[in-house]
């Protein structure tokens, strides 16, 4: 089972078994390269840990534990976590500043404890099967046991074709569950208990209490410290540099914190509408980094897409994870294992266009007849020419607020979810019938926290982005999974818990001042990053989409997976509808955002089925090719860990 995860930890691997329990670990050695071997046992042998991630405040915690009488044999954060668990039990996670998915087997209590970091940077999946609990960082490891059923979860598919991700704890596979971000779990004498150890709360606005300079100053100090902690490593650390504000600011802070030679990495494209080289070059010149670019073409995307879906383990509606997969390959090939990135700023500090769109729609809805208010719609999506070319009447019609949306808890997101849901028309009749009664948006509504309705609309929109799209898509498919696919760890200073908590106290009127997104962050960045980068309009990271799969020279797998015969066999999509979609792309005109999402979603779903669910799939080949490391008896439930009740 652990050999399936070699890409996550190519440096060493080991297993530990005792009685009914077994843990296995594949290690990417970053802190205490020589001493941090895992699974790691407590000195008295009572507890053993397998830990994926980093605890950035481990040095401070170590000092505290030493003062309490704990003795350490290594310099690793893993040993600190083991001692902290011995001291505080499951509550230890409250003390952690880091990104983690870990398991502790407590032999004396015969109890397994699992935990996942607050926002879900690190993945963790589990499966209750034949009286045992198995868990792993990736689903493919759980399928090492051929008795674990491999069946597509159609409701999860409907979620993806609504929100872009399956609603946790669902995964794309019926028997497999995800431990949601910010949750812990115990398996105690065969009983499973799951609870949240963290929640995101927004503070009420208190006008006049603090001014914007005050907020910017505190944010700056927190970010500097967040970066300082994230530079703790016994291997060199680089940065991603997209040319946007967030990664530029993080790179600039790294520059301030360290005199070391600094390497940075970015993606570039042929297409001017996606390429940000100009801004990247400007930041590189200003900060003097040693920069490398991964140039990515539509052909590269199509060729690498199967590998990407192998790693994401879920369909995607955009190709955007693929260039990031190619970027992490460049990082790895350059001898780096760790990069700092700017992810998270848009979610916690209000950077996305969806926040701006909701603000304008709400402002307009309060006086629907106002022509002046609706003119603000022109400020949206300046990078999408098809939107900008619309007549005023149609722009108003596209963005108008439906009466039923005004009172919805999902005011900001309903237009987007309704648009994405249209893609379900490609489902086969059988799948559509199966999903007839399933309402993803109602299920999302049931998952909202108690205080949600008390927050203002801006915070509600931020919550949906931060707690759902972020872990479900950005952090996984564009983050951990495509980075770890090349054995690269991403570290995210904006997700330092102090930064996240502070950002949740900044009033929305300052996060987006009038229509200036991430206003407080822009104040922070004054004089630190080039002015053109600081003040540019937020351009979301995008890449060539559906055309990658229909252009001349597209890989053969596309035609095979989208052939009417294959579509009929797999039974998920309607062959005629998919055929018409392909014809539309081949004709090459009028391709919309939805068309692109549909084609990418269908190709990626078919790849998932092909690689994981069909007989003689890539998974089967993988299982046959890679023997397990020794030490696990065949009677044990094997995995990154497994425990039998």
């Amino acid at each position: 089972m652990i050999s399936r995860l070699r890409h996550r930890g190519p440096d060493e691997a080991d297993v530990w078994t005792r009685g009914e329990a077994g843990l296995a670990h594949a290690r990417l050695s970053i802190i205490d390269v020589a001493g941090g071997h895992q699974p790691m046992c407590a000195e008295d042998g009572s507890q053993v840990i397998s830990f994926n991630g980093e605890i950035y405040n481990y040095l401070e915690l170590r000092e505290e534990l030493i003062a309490k009488g704990h003795c350490f044999k290594t310099r690793s954060d893993t040993e600190v976590l083991l001692h902290l668990y011995a001291e505080d039990g499951p509550d230890c996670v409250q003390r952690l500043n880091g990104q983690w998915a870990f398991a502790v087997w407590d032999g004396a209590q015969r109890r397994l404890f699992l935990s996942r970091d607050r926002l879900g940077v690190r993945p963790l999946f589990y499966c209750e099967h034949q009286g045992s609990l198995r868990f792993a960082s990736e689903v493919k490891a759980l399928f090492a046991d051929p008795t674990v059923p491999r069946q597509l979860d159609l409701q999860a598919l409907a979620d993806v074709f609504t929100f872009w991700f399956p609603l946790a704890p669902k995964t794309m596979f019926q028997k497999i569950r995800e431990l949601p971000p910010g949750h812990s779990l115990t398996w105690d004498d065969g009983k499973l208990r799951i609870w949240p150890h963290w929640s995101l709360e927004y503070a009420p606005d208190e006008p006049g209490k603090r001014d914007e300079r005050d907020y910017a100053q505190e944010l700056w100090e927190l970010l500097v410290d967040a970066v300082r902690l994230r530079l703790r490593a016994d291997v060199p650390v680089g940065t991603y540099l997209s040319g946007g504000l967030d990664s530029s600011l993080i790179t600039a802070i790294v520059r301030k914190c360290s005199n070391a030679h600094l390497r940075s990495f970015s993606v570039t494209f042929d297409e001017a509408e996606f390429d940000e080289s100009h801004y990247q070059d400007e930041v590189v010149r200003a900060l003097g980094t040693d920069h490398q670019k991964a140039h990515c073409t539509a052909t590269d995307i199509a060729r690498s897409f199967p590998d990407v879906i192998w790693h994401t383990e879920k369909p995607v509606l955009r190709t955007a994870p693929t260039p990031l997969f190619l970027l992490s390959r460049l990082v790895r090939d350059s001898g780096f294992k760790v990069v700092l990135t700017g992810e998270g700023a848009d979610e916690i500090l209000g950077g996305y266009d969806i926040f701006k769109e909701a603000k304008i729609r709400a402002f307009w809805a309060s006086q629907p007849e106002s022509r002046w208010r609706s003119l603000l719609l022109r400020r949206l999506y300046p990078y999408l020419p098809k939107v900008q070319q619309q007549s005023e009447a149609f722009l108003r019609a596209f963005f108008r607020v439906k009466p039923e949306h005004l009172s919805s808890p999902f005011f900001s997101h309903l237009p987007r979810w309704e648009m994405t849901s249209k893609l379900k028309l490609f489902f086969s009749d059988a799948v559509a019938a199966e999903l007839d009664a399933y309402q993803p948006i109602e299920e999302m509504a049931r998952s909202l926290p108690a205080h949600y309705n008390e927050w203002n609309r801006f915070c509600q929109a931020q919550y949906l982005e931060t707690m759902h799209l972020f872990p479900g898509y950005i952090l996984s498919s564009q983050g951990d999974r495509v980075a770890m696919g090349n054995s690269v760890e991403v570290r995210l200073p904006f997700l330092d818990p102090r930064v996240v908590a502070f950002a949740a106290r900044i009033p929305p009127r300052l996060k987006m001042k009038v229509l200036t997104e991430k206003y407080i962050l822009k104040c922070c960045a004054a004089g630190v990053v080039p002015e053109s980068v600081r003040t540019r309009h937020k351009q979301p990271y995008r890449a060539p989409q559906g055309n990658c799969f229909v252009q001349a020279g597209a890989p053969e797998y596309v035609g095979e997976l989208l052939s009417p015969e294959r579509l009929r066999q797999d039974g998920i999509f309607c062959p005629d509808a998919v055929g018409k979609l392909r014809q539309k792309f081949q004709a090459g005109r009028g391709i919309s955002v939805q068309d692109n999402m549909a084609l990418v979603g269908i190709v990626s779903s078919q790849l998932l089925i092909d690689q994981y669910l069909r007989p003689f799939s890539r998974l089967d080949v993988h299982l046959r090719k890679q023997p397990e490391p020794g030490g696990l008896d065949g009677n044990y439930c094997r995995g990154v860990a497994a425990v039998r009740s």
Partner: protein, 87 residues
């Protein structure tokens, strides 16, 4: 049903519904139902200009003219009549 409306319906079904017409009627609102998005609207206008040899002015880009198959067919007929009488 007259030819223009039938042709327009076929274009909408093929290009925006990918053959899955469902309950699309001649009076279904493109905007209400979300059938035609911003890119689709530009494409639809290009289609009627090319197919029916008419010119749609910016001032005519209104939901009143373009939001259903029936309205669009009526708009096309009016434009064709205007073009004929101008000649």
């Amino acid at each position: 049903m007259e030819t223009i409306a039938v042709e327009l319906r076929q274009f909408v079904v093929d290009n925006y519904l990918f053959g899955r017409a469902g309950d699309l009627s001649y009076d279904s609102s493109f905007l209400e139902s979300g059938i035609v998005n911003s890119t689709g609207m530009l494409e639809l206008i290009a289609f009627v200009e090319q197919t029916y040899a008419i010119q749609v002015e910016d001032s005519e880009l209104l939901p009143e003219n373009l939001d259903t198959i029936s309205k669009l067919a009526k708009f096309v007929r009016t434009k064709q009549r205007m073009a004929k009488s101008a000649n």
